[in-house]
């Protein structure tokens, strides 16, 4: 069985899916499942059952309509758009309100933007070296002090801030590279 590395770019992954590689499909679901679920639950506050229904439907549509995606690098915004539409349909079905993007409250829009940003950062982090991923995760996600990080990683305490800075610069470069040319593109 052929393994699909998690380091493939979105475009490369979509290309492998188009070629009918089942492992690539597994990787695509793995890569975007948390994102889709987070949009449903954190962005639209769907109930668990509704979120699961939307989740299933999103990936069914991705599977059946991937050929209609014009720009392979834009698979993430495409999936986000599909998910948003299905979430709105679900909410509308419950409240008899006509689905529309205008239904989104500013707080909801902000929550979706925050989610996008968080997932983009997480994705970009996977392209960094292990030591960089670790030091960033410890400082920003686990709120560890420089002293704790230096003790755990056996590094001089005075160098931790500089290490984090260098890793953040690399992360920003990755994010800037990712943002170039990844505009939404749909069916």
């Amino acid at each position: 069985m052929r393994q699909v590395p998690a380091t493939l770019t979105d475009s490369q992954l979509v290309q492998r899916c188009r070629e009918g590689d089942p492992e690539a499909w597994n990787e695509l679901v793995e890569r975007f499942s948390r994102y889709v679920y987070a949009i449903c639950v954190q962005g639209f506050r769907l109930r668990e059952q509704d979120a699961e229904d939307v989740f299933q439907e999103v990936f069914t549509r991705v599977y059946s309509r991937l050929d209609t995606l014009r720009d392979d690098s834009a698979v993430r915004p495409w999936i986000a758009q599909l998910t948003r539409r299905l979430c709105l349909d679900t909410l509308a079905a419950g409240s008899r309100v006509q689905p529309s993007d205008e239904v989104l409250a500013p707080a909801q829009e902000q929550a979706l933007e925050d989610l996008d940003e968080a997932f983009a950062v997480r994705e970009a982090m996977t392209a960094l070296s292990e030591p960089c991923q670790e030091v960033l995760d410890r400082f920003f996600a686990r709120d560890e002090s420089y002293r704790t990080i230096s003790a755990e990683l056996q590094l001089p305490a005075g160098t931790i801030a500089s290490r984090i800075s260098r890793c953040l610069v690399q992360l920003r470069e990755r994010l800037e590279g990712r943002n170039e040319g990844a505009a939404p593109s749909s069916e």
Binding site: F139, F140, D143, S145, Y146, R147, T148, A157, G158, I160, A161, S162, I164, S165, R166, C167, L168, V169, R172
Partner: protein, 193 residues
């Protein structure tokens, strides 16, 4: 004053509440607030140095993260002391010794956190004083000095807390942190001269 209100106060009102009688807000809240000032200054220096320092934004992000961590401690320290004092009063009446120990333990944990954040702010201040834009290095040095003072203050609060014994590793850690912060402040002052 209810400690829930501290973070919503105008600065002048907060200072007034510090000067009022009573124990809270007290030294711990003031130390945490000082670390917040230091972290804010470093963030400002970093933002102002983007044109000449490649890692300025990254240092600003760390300073902002420190600020996010330290601000709640301004209130939490006061809350913990209020709790501990209440139990001290109860213990004076001969009851609830176990609860008192637990509350004092909680009150001691907060200055330890303040001390750690203060050391980090001092180290970041040093970095900004060494590499930030020349016009702002004096501000970075001020940040490091403030943070070092807060680290020393927090170490003192750890030391005098009734729940911390002389051989408690948290005390050694807080003292070592205060020393490291003082060193960082001295280097920051040198760099800014």
């Amino acid at each position: 004053m209810a400690t829930d209100d501290y973070l919503d106060l105008r600065l002048s009102d907060f200072l007034e509440s510090l000067a009022e009688g009573g124990r809270a807000p007290g030294g711990g809240s003031a130390a945490a607030f000082t670390v917040a000032l230091a972290a804010g200054l470093v963030a400002m220096v970093a933002r102002s140095s983007r044109g000449s320092w490649k890692e300025a934004s990254a240092v600003g992000a760390q300073a902002t993260s420190l600020l996010r961590r330290i601000v709640p401690l301004v209130r939490t320290d006061a809350d913990a002391w209020e709790d501990a004092l209440e139990e001290l009063r109860a213990a004076a009446e001969g009851v609830r010794a176990d609860v008192l120990e637990q509350k004092l333990e909680g009150a001691a944990a907060i200055p330890v956190l303040i001390a750690e954040a203060a050391v980090d702010a001092a180290l970041l201040g040093q970095l900004a004083a060494e590499r930030g834009d020349g016009s702002y290095r004096a501000d970075a040095a001020v940040a490091a000095v403030l943070a070092a003072a807060a680290a020393e203050a927090a170490a003192h609060l750890v030391e005098v807390n009734l729940a911390v014994r002389e051989d408690d590793p948290r005390l050694a850690q807080a003292r070592a942190g205060a020393e490291a912060a003082a060193g960082a402040a001295a280097r920051a002052l040198d760099a800014a001269r």
